[in-house]
Each structure stands twice: as structure tokens, then as C-alpha cells.
């Protein structure tokens, strides 16, 4: 078991871990946009690690080059797909992107200069 194999195995297993993380995000996040966010980022990082794993073991350089091209095309496809799906979701009116709510700020404990919330500053 040479060090190449150990590194390759570690890369493969961590890639798998990122894929699992992406799927957990897909199932557990509340709306389309956060799911897209989780999926696109985690899955593409996982794909990179899985492309890198076999590339470590390969002697001919063109195979590693092919794996690199596969990953980069995957990145491009995921980027454009994510944008288009989100765009369609917004414009079909089914989903509003959630406006971020200001954090709850109790007026008594809120000191104007250190509190970053806009609502808090407007109350004092």
C-alpha cells in the first residue's frame, strides 16, 4: 500500500462525504434556494475530490487531463443550471426569495454603537 493509494483513498472518501453533505442539505433545507446553494457547492467539491482521486494513481497524463476537463465542465454545467433553475423559480412566482430578517434585538440590552442591527439603532 504505497502513499499514492493512501492519498487517493482519502480523496475518494472525503469526496463521498461532501456528496452526502449535499444530499442532507437537499433533504433538510427549507426552500428551493437554500437547497440549490447546498447542492451546487457541496456536490461540485465532492466531484473535484473524486476526480482527483483516480488522477493521483494514473501514470499517463492524458487521463488525468480528461478527469480535470470533466470536473471543469461539471462546474460550468452546475453553475449555469443553478442560476437558470433559480431564475425560473423566482419568475414563475412560485417562490419568493426570502428576505433576510433583521436579528431580534432587545432594546434594554442594546447599546447603539455595538449593535449592528438597523432596527435596534432606530429604537434607541
Amino acid at each position: 500500500m504505497n502513499p499514492q493509494e493512501v492519498i487517493a483513498s482519502l480523496l475518494l472518501l472525503s469526496g463521498c462525504l461532501f456528496f452526502i453533505a449535499g444530499t442532507i442539505g437537499l433533504l433538510r433545507f427549507p426552500d428551493v434556494f437554500s437547497r440549490l446553494h447546498a447542492l451546487t457547492k457541496a456536490d461540485n467539491l465532492g466531484l473535484f475530490l473524486i476526480c482527483a482521486g483516480p488522477a493521483m494513481r494514473r501514470e499517463p497524463l492524458c487521463s488525468a487531463g480528461l478527469l480535470l476537463i470533466v470536473w471543469m465542465l461539471g462546474l460550468l454545467a452546475a453553475t449555469v443550471s443553478c442560476h437558470l433553475i433559480a431564475r425560473r423559480a423566482v419568475r414563475s412566482g412560485q417562490m419568493e426569495p426570502r428576505a433576510s430578517e433583521p436579528p431580534a434585538c432587545v432594546p434594554r440590552t442594546c447599546v447603539p454603537r455595538t449593535c449592528a442591527s438597523r432596527t435596534c439603532a432606530s429604537r434607541t
Binding site: L73, L76, A77, T79, V80, H83, L84, R87
Partner: protein, 327 residues
């Protein structure tokens, strides 16, 4: 390339994991097929079907059939998926409310015995196929022994363009007939299945096109060239080229033209004509019909086939007589 090994090896741990992979794939494929048929929501059924195509490609890969995996990926997952989604969009735009299935399901006493009967039929065929003893002297074995006469080492290409070249010739005729049939029907439908130029302004799509379309041309030519010794060939290359064309249609770079241009007509019939001419010339000069004389002839015919398949698939997708660059 060694001949396929018919013996069942002893089970070791990697083989058991392989069995696990196959089991998960098989269950997922069957479940997807059930969901495709049973879904009341049309979009859900369509997407299940596309995912089914993806998993079928994996199944072909597991069965050591990369040629079929290539074809399934290009056609089943790519072009068919785009076709179904565009159709869904058209239905929505026309106000057909595709969300509800209109037909009530068949009664249970009809469905269960049919499903049970079909499953038992498939299971018994599979069991018989697995139990058959390997008989010597079958056509596959003879072809495998004589494969060097054709000049290519990929057995799929040798069969498609050498041993069973007549089938491929007739398949090209079928493809052309499909195109003509589609034109005959589509005359009555509303033209303009393709998006207008407004969609061309979405920013990321331009970058996608500028990278993917040239690469699809490159990959198509690569698959054509690789078809001699490795999985690939005219059909897979043609499907990839068609996918690039479909992408151009979907993003508004190509729009429908009212007439089939001269170049498109030539490309549509090129595969059939070149293949037939090659076969007839060989016969005229003394050989058997369609016994292509060498590797160069195979590549020539495959190039013509690739161009014909690509243009036919793109024009079928666009449902238009021709295409031209969007103004």
C-alpha cells in the same frame, strides 16, 4: 481485448459490494419506472423518466457495455430530456394544465394480474437465459473469430458496419423516413417551437454555449475516430453533435426557418446515399455488397452517418423545416 468470460468467479468482498451496487441500481430503476407510470403530476413523471434514463446508462456501464452507455447518455438523458421539457413548456403556454392526469386509473383487478403476468414473463425469460449452456458455433463466436477481416478491433463497430452492415443501412433509411413523417405531421402544427431572441440575453448562457458547443464538436469527432478501437462510433458522435445543436436551438441562437435549405437537404440524405453508393460500388467491382474494402471506407461511411444523424435529430427536435442563425 479478450473474449468475454462466461465462468462465474468465486465471490470476494469487492464482488459482493459490486452485487450491492447492482441491487441498488436495479431497485432504483424499477422504482423509477413505477413512479413514472403512476405519477399524476406530468412534470414529475417526465423528470422521473429522465432520471430513469440516467440510471439506465449506469446499468449499461455495469454490464460492461460502454457503447450503449454512451448512446443512452446522449439520447436518453440529454436530447429526450430536453424534448420532454420543451413539450411541457408548450403545453403550459397553451394552457393545457398538464399538472393533472386526465384519465382515471384502470381498475385494480385488471392492473394487478397484468403486472404480475408481465413480471413473471420477464423473470422466466431471464432465468432461462442465465441457465442456457453456451453452445459452440453461434454467430457471435464466428464473428469474434473473424473480426480481423473487418479491420477494426471494436466488436460493436465491426458488427454494425461489417457483419450486419445491411441493418445499419436500413436503419439510416428509417431515420430519414422518420424525419419525412415528422414533417408530414408537423405542417399542421403551429411553428415556432423555439424561443425568441429575448432569451439570448441571459448572461451565463452565452458563456455556456461558447464552451460547450465547440467541445461537443470536438467530442463528436473524437467519438467517431475512437469508434474503431474503443467504444464510440457514428451514432454516439452524431448524438453528441445533435446535443450541441439542441443547445443552440434552446437558447435562441438558431431559429426556425420556413424552408429546408439546400445544405440541410444534402446532409439529411448524405448518410444513406454514401453508404448505399459505397455498397454498390463494391458490388460493381466484384466484391459482395456492402463489404467495405478497408478502414478508410468505414471512416468515410461513418462520417456521413454522423452528419446525417446529427442534422436529423436537431431538426426533429426543433420541429421545423430548417434552421438558420437568429437575427
Amino acid at each position: 481485448m479478450r473474449a468475454p468470460d462466461m465462468r462465474v468467479p468465486d465471490m470476494r468482498v469487492p464482488d459482493m459490494i459490486g452485487l450491492g451496487i447492482d441491487a441498488v441500481l436495479a431497485l432504483a430503476i424499477v422504482w423509477l419506472a413505477l413512479q413514472t407510470v403512476r405519477s399524476r403530476d406530468l412534470f414529475k413523471a417526465m423528470l422521473m423518466f429522465v432520471v430513469f434514463g440516467l440510471l439506465m446508462s449506469l446499468a449499461w456501464a455495469r454490464l460492461h457495455a460502454p457503447d450503449l452507455a454512451l448512446a443512452e447518455a446522449a439520447i436518453g438523458a440529454g436530447i429526450t430530456g430536453a424534448l420532454l421539457l420543451v413539450t411541457w413548456r408548450r403545453l403550459q403556454a397553451d394552457g393545457h394544465e398538464p399538472a393533472d392526469s386526465e384519465h382515471p386509473p384502470l381498475p385494480l383487478w385488471l392492473r394487478l394480474p397484468t403486472a404480475g403476468g408481465a413480471s413473471m414473463l420477464v423473470a422466466s425469460i431471464g432465468w432461462v437465459a442465465l441457465e442456457l449452456p453456451a453452445t459452440p458455433g453461434t454467430a457471435g463466436e464466428l464473428a469474434w473469430q473473424r473480426i480481423d477481416d473487418i479491420g477494426v478491433s471494436n466488436p460493436v463497430t465491426a458488427v454494425l458496419l461489417g457483419f450486419r452492415a445491411y441493418d445499419t443501412l436500413l436503419e439510416m433509411a428509417v431515420v430519414l423516413a422518420a424525419w419525412l413523417g415528422a414533417r408530414a405531421v408537423a405542417i399542421e402544427l403551429r411553428p415556432g417551437a423555439l424561443p425568441g431572441p429575448a432569451y439570448a440575453e441571459v448572461p451565463l448562457v452565452g458563456a455556456l454555449l461558447s464552451l460547450v458547443v465547440p467541445i461537443s464538436i470536438l467530442v463528436a469527432v473524437y467519438l467517431l475516430q475512437a469508434g474503431g478501437n474503443a467504444p464510440g462510433g457514428a451514432f454516439q458522435g452524431g448524438a453528441v453533435l445533435a446535443a450541441g445543436g439542441v443547445l443552440l436551438c434552446l437558447t435562441g441562437r438558431l431559429e426556425a426557418a420556413a424552408q429546408t435549405s439546400g445544405l440541410e437537404r444534402v446532409l439529411l440524405v448524405l448518410g444513406l446515399v454514401v453508404f448505399s453508393l459505397a455498397g454498390l460500388l463494391v458490388m460493381a467491382s466484384g466484391g459482395a455488397m456492402l463489404a467495405l474494402p478497408g478502414l478508410w471506407a468505414i471512416y468515410l461511411v461513418e462520417t456521413a452517418l454522423l452528419l446525417s444523424i446529427a442534422i436529423t435529430l436537431v431538426l426533429l427536435f426543433a420541429a421545423a423545416p430548417g434552421l438558420r442563425r437568429a437575427s
